[in-house]
Symmetry: C2
Subunit: 391 residues, 2 copies
């Protein structure tokens, strides 16, 4: 056995995440490693918390990155808020709602699913009926931005319903954070989790979370220990507590946090509203270009996530061949369909640093080429003109 | 609020981890991010598994890095092997044995502690008596290299005892992997977990694990689901399965894995036995230097971990002042005492790339300076000569 160093190719990432990581963030990752108890590291931890509060639009003290990917952030929310025997209502309109159900069940709690058609937003009426039918439910969980379908749900209304029915809300904001308006405090969301590799344009591996005072009170009122030692927010809070004295919990992923810090500084520089606007604008341009090619969106206008565009694969076009050509000839990645959408849909990401005009133009060029090789001849100029007109 | 980019200082890391990270690994971290389903990424994942098998000295197919720090690797072992109502015997001779007890309890299982004095290895006789007294135990868990004390235990004998008493063994190898002899297959260890930021000299954040066929059979024979979705080895195996078709589980921490790959390539280049020898040699040199200064080890000779040297703080010396001076004047980090040893002990790491003569000489120089400032005058030349003589 003799294995050499891995030389990563330079890709253009237009899938469901990771998104393109700017050089400044890659540079930050490679800075010298310091100890996780170093006074300078603790200053950086405090700064990350402040920057995350801005990104989430919250004053929640318990706002920090979990030292593991978004799926661990999801689990952190469920294992901390639920105890065996509790009941949680879960809206399911894609892969990640389904995953929430599994999390509830593994907590020894009961999951009541509100099933919705894939590609549609969560229907508040259906949720309200279910809340009314289950007055003993403790939690309402839903996905703000379904990465598997590209549909956005009305998180403000759903969090309001949760409050009115005396439930804590758990909101998946993995793909929404930094890409579309998200107001944790204004919407009174109780527990939110996200990822770093989507609209923050950082590398994958960390999960920013935020817990409201009501969520913290529920954690403190538990009569059973949190089943996960690694994800027990009581312990994590002791580690990430403000400045000075901290209780050792685990060894923080030091260099990954350098990267997140830099990504959040970049977001602060751009301004959150500007970042949202950029995603919206680039989405309009991409949509104009795709529609000029006759490609149809899965999600109806008005419910589309700007940063995750699900489109139907045109009839007669070979899914794998197109994605293969894009990757090999253009070093361009788009996402395959997931779950119910496998083989039927492509997921085109415009997340973070990937939400740029040059990426859109490259994608349209590559698609026209790939379709042409399968006998479907389309007019690239019309598509590029539609993009230009939309900007 | 306006927060600037974080400029990490250049430290010399001689604490309990992270250790000094070589530039080639930092460079690898900053390579372009690619998708976690990219064919080239999958090749890299397969290489990491091969390299980890070498590091662990195992042919276990289920050998891979968990996408979270060592404490999550610990939890992965317990939640996969234990079900509610099971019984686990846990040897406790430091902080991490205690943490194992917590993990057992959070699985709804019963923990039988074999308590040992801190700073001593686990006593096989005490373990065997406990195994004999609890024939219904399913698991024997212990720490190979206790990072909180610097004691090494006889993992081969303990794993053998587990087998003879029909138990699965769970072995904490966080600090041992790459630093001292570790033979997962020869010793018949069933579930081992480690960390990247110790003797592999990589950044913190990942936890290599390996499960024997017997451990996999136990996981398959479970009658209850693994309580953690994120750490369910059934699902993780589908994601890390060999080549080709993989089931989406989470988004792998792409750049962190670049770093681990590079660290493991470096280990392969040096050779595992050479790495063990280097740690042993540097430990002898450090011990000679410290003893020349009259500093006493916590652990008796023969049971000392070369990579983690616990020493008593000399009478009348102010712990925090010394560590503060080392950090501020020499940019040198050593570890404080943990748990029962807080305030009484320093933990001096010689892990991975930190296990170098120049680091040892810097540390001795800094300690003599710091002691001198507190009125304890020692002869640096004698200490440096002892180091030279030992090499």
């Amino acid at each position: 056995m003799s294995i050499s160093s891995f030389q990563a190719p330079q890709r253009v990432l237009m899938g469901p995440g990771p998104s393109d990581v700017p050089q400044r963030i890659l540079d930050a990752l490679g800075r010298p490693t310091i100890g996780h108890l170093d006074p300078q590291f603790i200053v950086m931890m405090d700064e990350i918390k402040e920057l995350l509060k801005y990104a989430f639009q919250t004053e929640n003290a318990l706002t920090l990155p979990i030292s593991a990917p978004g799926s661990a952030g999801m689990e952190a929310c469920f294992v901390n808020l639920l105890e065996p025997g509790d009941k949680a209502i879960v809206a399911v309109n894609g892969v990640f709602g389904k995953r929430m159900i599994e999390n509830v069940q593994r907590c020894g709690a009961t999951a009541i699913a509100v099933d919705q058609a894939w590609g549609t937003p969560v229907d508040p009426d259906a949720v309200e009926q279910t809340l009314a039918a289950h007055p003993d439910a403790k939690v309402l969980a839903f996905v703000h931005a379904e990465t598997s379908t590209g549909a956005i749900s009305d998180a403000e209304t759903l969090c309001g319903l949760a409050k009115r029915h005396n439930c804590l809300s758990i909101v998946d904001t993995v793909t929404s954070l930094g890409g579309v308006p998200l107001y944790v405090d204004r919407w009174k969301a109780d527990a939110v989790y996200s990822g770093t590799q989507k609209c923050l344009s950082c590398t994958p591996g960390l999960s920013p979370v935020s817990f409201s005072d009501a969520a913290v009170a529920a954690i403190k009122a538990r009569t059973t220990p949190v089943q996960s030692w690694f994800l027990d927010m009581n312990l994590i809070l002791g580690y990430w507590g403000q400045g000075g004295k901290r209780a050792y919990h685990h060894t923080a992923p030091v260099n990954a946090l350098y990267g997140l810090h830099e990504a959040l500084v970049a977001l602060q520089e751009e301004g959150l509203e500007n970042a949202w606007l950029r995603h919206a604008t680039m989405h309009q341009a991409l949509a104009a270009g795709l529609e000029a090619l006759g490609i149809e969106f899965v999600v109806k206008a008005g419910a589309r996530l700007p940063q995750l565009n699900s489109v139907y694969i045109p009839d007669g076009i070979d899914d794998a061949k197109v994605r293969g050509l894009l990757l090999e000839k253009y070093s361009l990645e788009i996402g395959a369909g997931l779950g119910d959408f496998a083989g039927k849909v492509w997921r085109i990401g415009l997340m973070g640093h990937s939400a740029r005009r040059e990426n859109i133009e490259l994608l349209l060029t590559a698609l026209v080429d790939a379709f042409g090789q399968q006998g479907l001849t389309l007019d690239l100029d019309i598509a590029l003109k539609a993009v230009a007109d939309a900007l």
